[in-house]
Amino acid sequence: MQTAGSAVLDKARLERLYVDLERPMYNVVYRWLWDSAEAHDVVQETFVKLWQMRSQVAVETVRPLAYRIAVNLASNRRRWFRLRRWVSLEQQPDEPAGANGTPEDHLQQAAVRRAIDHLPERYRRVILLCDFSGMTYAQVGEALRIPAGTVGSRRSHALGLLRQALGDFDDHDE
């Protein structure tokens, strides 16, 4: 909530925030939907919602709030897609859109996707936000409304589950 004296989320700030968050947020929500257009739409929808609730938004805490909205939107949309697929018996594409490379790469990406898809939602939220958003554990905790310590333990558990599915991998970013 906006407090007295806090900065107002005007259009210029919102656009700057969009430029900052578009890529990491897209990467987070893409792992829910596995569809580029849908992930992009969720990112845009997130910022439209932020704009609509700008009178209640404190600029200082807008990042966790933006990610919370994005993750919830992605999660809802994923649920809806699964229901629609179940009803229409539509097949889900096996590989991430735009994936290219050797057949081994395709197999590896499909395995990664299966592993991420099979993560329980609470672990998926944590590991994707920790790895892409650039937020601290405390901010991720604020976004997910859980304590920072829980963020750390869930992330560690999620990595363990991914290792079980994919074999060991280096846990370093760059």
Partner: protein, 162 residues
């Protein structure tokens, strides 16, 4: 953001040959271009009245109708309050529907034949919901005629003699 949408960036060097790096597992993907322009267009678009509001309005209307019907049914089932008067030979039912009390309270009093009772002033009496249909209101006979005194008590356990 110069690479193609969804094309993974170069993976990190794995720690050992044949081992995945975390960026192999979670590679950075590039969003489709033109996101900011699309957002601007979306923000400038007039806000559509969402379907949710229409559904909420329909729900509210249905709720009001439901409450109205419930109140009407409740009013129709209002219990009769029985007024007994020590001077009278019988019992007078003053329920909203003015039906005679079919219980063991005796015959309905004919007001035409009992002008003293008919002249009694009426006072609103609030009866707890659980006690409706079981309460009797009795007018006591005080010494001072200017004072009216009523006794409200359950039917049961109270002598019915007058």
């Amino acid at each position: 953001m110069t690479s193609e949408p969804n094309k993974p960036n170069k993976p990190n060097k794995p720690g050992t040959p044949g081992t995945l790096s975390k960026r192999d597992v979670l590679p950075w993907l590039e969003p489709p271009p033109g996101g900011l322009a699309a957002l601007r267009a979306r923000l400038d678009r007039p806000r559509k009245r969402p379907l949710v509001w229409a559904l909420a309005a329909a729900g509210a209307t249905a709720s009001v109708a439901g409450v109205t019907i419930a109140l009407a049914l409740w009013a129709a089932e209002l219990p009769r309050i029985v007024v007994t008067h020590p001077d009278s030979a019988g019992t007078h039912s003053v329920a909203a529907n003015l039906k005679p009390d079919p219980g063991p309270t005796g015959p309905t009093l004919d007001l035409e034949r009992h002008p003293a009772l008919a002249a009694l002033p009426s006072e609103p009496v609030t009866v707890p919901r659980h006690a409706r249909g079981q309460m009797a209101v009795t007018r006591a006979a005080p010494d001072t005629p200017e004072v009216l005194f009523y006794w409200v008590s359950p039917h049961t356990g109270r002598p019915r003699s007058h």
